[in-house]
């Protein structure tokens, strides 16, 4: 008997013995099974800035994990060796939720980060680990493309403290051609996340010739401002030739600077550039008085002047989770 996976908008209709597009949700004897539960292919202690999160517990460590597989197939994927891998061809660790929480504690991590590939596809593992982590005082953060149906997303959000969601483009054509996905579910996911009160940061990978035109950047920033609020941190990240897009050059520093300026001119308060060194593009400034609040270099926090989440100069409350 076929089964239909209702986790993500692809809603794969899966024949017996086959998997969905994500490669990890399989129909075994008419039952939908997840073969990666408790089997991450990668676990590392990372700085939270690497995700990147710039307004969530800066300077802390996060236990980061991923299983193989992904429900998107972005031609520019930077982690394609694991995101586009089959479980049967891969190596994994046995690490049930209890072990993850234990590892986080022994490595002084304040959070668990479900990242690298997409936590949507290892949903059940993420959900159970999040519940357990929250019960023991460990925070949960998601790094995702946000391609998930509303019902499972709402359930997961109850246990999530922060989400960093890709908005890869504001064009549906881009999603279809580059990612084999669609735009609307991602926009819905972003709105739902912000409305639920979960801390949200948005990232856009700027790819030369595909989504780097000023009008495209402006449209994206406008959408974020109107639908998520001007206080939502927005990251523009440098593309580097990878996977099926090795024919394009890396994004130039000028393009990223221009993107940042455009977003700020549209009224976005916290705009960053990443994957590249920048003198000011990685720092947090007070949107009111322009005081330097958090100075960063790469993934390192050099200085944090926030006082209980407020600007020390003018007292303005800065969006984020600071303790």
């Amino acid at each position: 008997m076929k089964v239909q996976c209702r986790l993500c908008p692809k809603e794969c209709l899966i024949k017996p013995g086959q998997s969905g597009e994500c490669r990890v949700r399989i129909n075994i004897d008419g039952v939908l099974r997840t073969v990666v539960y408790s089997y991450p292919c990668s676990i590392h202690v990372d700085p939270v800035e690497k995700k990147p999160f710039f307004h969530f517990l800066p300077g802390t460590k996060t236990l980061s994990l991923a299983t193989v597989g992904c429900n998107l197939h972005c031609k520019n994927c930077q982690n394609w060796e694991i995101s586009q891998a089959n479980p049967e061809d891969s190596e994994a660790f046995f690490c049930p939720p209890e072990k993850l929480v234990e590892l986080a504690k022994t490595n002084q991590c304040t959070s668990l980060a479900y990242t690298y590939t997409d936590p949507v596809i290892y949903y059940e593992y993420t959900l159970d680990s999040s519940k357990l982590a929250r019960a023991t005082g460990i925070r949960n953060i998601l790094v995702t493309a946000g391609y998930i149906n509303k019902e499972p997303w709402k359930e997961l959000l109850q246990y999530i403290d922060a989400a960093r969601i890709d908005l890869k483009s504001i064009s549906d054509d881009f999603y279809r051609e580059v990612c084999s996905a669609t735009l609307k579910p991602v926009l819905d996911c972003l709105v739902l996340t912000k409305a639920s009160g979960v801390h949200l940061e948005v990232i856009n990978l700027v790819i030369p010739t595909l989504n780097d035109k000023p009008q495209q950047i402006r449209a994206l920033a406008q959408w974020v401002k109107v639908n998520l609020g001007s206080d939502t941190p927005l990251h523009f990240s440098q593309f580097y030739p990878q996977y099926k897009m090795q024919y394009l050059p890396p994004t130039s520093a000028e393009t990223l600077d221009t993107a940042r300026q455009i977003a700020m001119s549209e009224g976005m308060q916290y705009v960053y550039i990443g994957n590249i060194t920048s003198e000011t593009g990685q720092n947090t400034y007070c949107p009111g008085c322009k005081t330097l609040l958090i100075e960063r270099s790469g993934f390192t926090v050099l200085k944090n002047q926030l006082k209980n989440g407020n600007c020390p100069t003018c007292g303005q409350k800065i969006y984020g989770v600071w303790k």
């Binding site: 239909q4 986790l7 209709l13 939908l32 073969v35 590392h44 202690v45 930077q78 994994a92 046995f94």
Partner: protein, 60 residues
Amino acid sequence: MTRREFVQFVLKTASAIAVGAYFITDKVSPRRFIRAVRQKKYPGSVKQLSNINTQGKWRG
């Protein structure tokens, strides 16, 4: 419309409806989201956990 064209029209319409109905009814249960069941055995190889204190080489 000739009789031949009319018959062709009826056959095409009927087959289009049949194909459409198949794809609609082929969306089998469950109708709502349900969690996938955990498969205990990993289909790939399982290795010993080690060296987690270094930064991940993957993006994100």
